[in-house]
Symmetry: C2
Subunit: 318 residues, 2 copies
């Protein structure tokens, strides 16, 4: 017999790793069960510090996360890690090897690590990430790390689910210049120049600092820039201190509440869009009106925008 | 006075480059005007061969497109190019330089080239791409090339708007191995190993061929693999022949109609999702019910899925 949802929820609340794994699988699939499970856990969520780690492939994000976990667990913190693989076909390979390295931590009862791929919601992985974070929060993780591979649009959307976003760069790739040009700097709360032993590390550090000084800030937080060499555990303690300082800032300034309100509004919007998609899919299977409309669209007797308008007026009004 | 939409539409139908540029700007912004313009042009669309060119940054897509355009115009064809910049902050830089090279063609009245960035629709760039393609089709371009930078999820969604998808690889990056592993091969109708003068080109060719042979095809089309060196114009004529063969296959097998039907259903779904988002945004500004619901959500008195359900039931039913 399948374990029932309330048993799984109970297990999650007790930080039972098996239950947590099962719960994340359920929310990842985005079914009705997922919604019921979230209903059970929702009240126990919202208390963790969510840390997003993002940057281009190859900058050493996973090694950095690895080193950060060690720092955090030393302080007795429970840590949950979601490694988001946006199934970018050309970077998908890297994550597996890195995850294997992280397995060291999986022997530690206070560390739960999970890779997530994009499925379930048509609206993309961000929706299931919100719920997976909730599972980890409800399980008593004080820290939830959301690691994203790559820096495309969907990765940035995921990064924005965090309270503190750590943007990881490395020397010599020109990534810093691109980041500065493209305005991605704005999403970083803490900057890391990793692989700090490579030539050009100081140059990258200076470039990032200079560009941050040009920014006009709407808040009193000035993003720090930390040089690390995660492989040798260098600079990790500094980084961890800066991340904690940012959390203090969020708590004391009221910024945390503001960010979380924006986040939940984004999530609500995407959930509604997803329901609209589902309604249409259902309607295309069961409603003659919608099937006829699609045929007209194919025959170019109606344009897509007018058709969409008709769908919204007809499917949702009953 | 602003040019009115019917004047712009008239200009588009006459292949006036200024009108085409103006029309694409309008659809890019995704406003009500965009919908009206599409209504005017829709009946004149649907007749071009849509060719998607996709692959990792650096494989030489733009040079390849450049060389293909020369082949096509030699045959007297009108060509429209949409270079889609999904505003990936770390690859956004490359496209500018490449576009400048393409300017040679802009002196040619039969070639219209346009870069598009992601704005307007919240649902992403795919929606405005559909409409921009329609503008180019209505303008009498027999060929519309959709070039995407990178190969993330959104890029693949864009690639799928094409009739013929050309997947570009280069030797020695391991991209081929990744592509084979990840199943991205399935989206390619024609494969290119560009930079064929680099070491390992034959190896990459053999790898791709071997992996294609392992595929079980549901259609009678066997994707060809072409080695090119776009910079020296080598292999481009072969590539162009293979692209034309694929078009013949699409026409004769009935596959074209099938693909276009799937595409228009995807577009309709995303347009409906986008309208749902807009409705919610509007409602959050004007409806006390929705504002209260958001507040409850922030206070964790209701979970997001239940809230979304309430939104759909209340906003759309009037």
């Amino acid at each position: 017999m399948e374990e029932d949802l309330s048993t799984i929820a109970q297990g999650v609340l007790k930080h039972n790793h098996r239950s947590i794994a099962r719960a994340i699988s359920i929310v990842e699939n985005g079914s009705d069960e997922a919604q019921q499970l979230v209903q059970l856990l929702f009240k126990h969520s919202g208390r963790s510090h969510l840390i997003g780690i993002t940057g281009s492939p190859g900058v050493g994000k996973s090694t950095l996360v690895d080193a950060l976990i060690s720092q955090m667990t030393k302080e007795g913190l429970k840590v949950g890690v979601l490694a988001i693989d946006p199934t970018s076909p050309f970077t998908g390979g890297a994550i597996l090897g890195d995850r294997i390295r992280m397995q060291d931590h999986t022997l530690n009862k206070n560390v739960f690590i999970r890779s997530m791929a994009n499925r379930g919601y048509k609206g993309g992985i961000a929706l299931s990430t919100y719920d997976a974070v909730r599972v980890l929060e409800a399980s008593g993780c004080q820290i939830v790390i959301i690691e994203t591979v790559g820096v495309g649009q969907s990765e940035l959307a995921i990064a924005k689910t965090a309270d503190t976003t750590v943007l990881v760069l490395m020397p010599g790739t020109g990534d810093d210049v691109q980041a500065i040009k493209s305005g991605i700097m704005e999403i970083g709360d803490v900057f890391v120049v990793n692989k700090g032993d490579l030539p050009g590390a100081n140059r990258t550090y200076t470039d990032v600092m200079a560009s941050l000084e040009l920014n006009s800030y709407q808040s009193s937080w000035r993003p720090p820039v930390v040089i690390t060499c995660a492989e040798n555990n260098e600079g990790i303690e500094n980084l961890w201190q800066d991340i904690k300082k940012h959390k203090d800032y969020l708590d004391n300034s009221g910024e945390l509440l503001k960010r979380r309100k924006e986040k939940i509004q984004t999530e609500l919007t995407e959930l509604v869009a997803d329901m609209a998609r589902d309604n249409l899919t259902h309607s295309l299977q069961h409603s003659q009106f919608t099937q006829d409309l699609l045929d007209k669209l194919v025959r170019q007797e109606v344009d897509p925008h007018s058709a969409a308008q008709l769908v919204v007026e007809n499917i949702f009004n009953k």
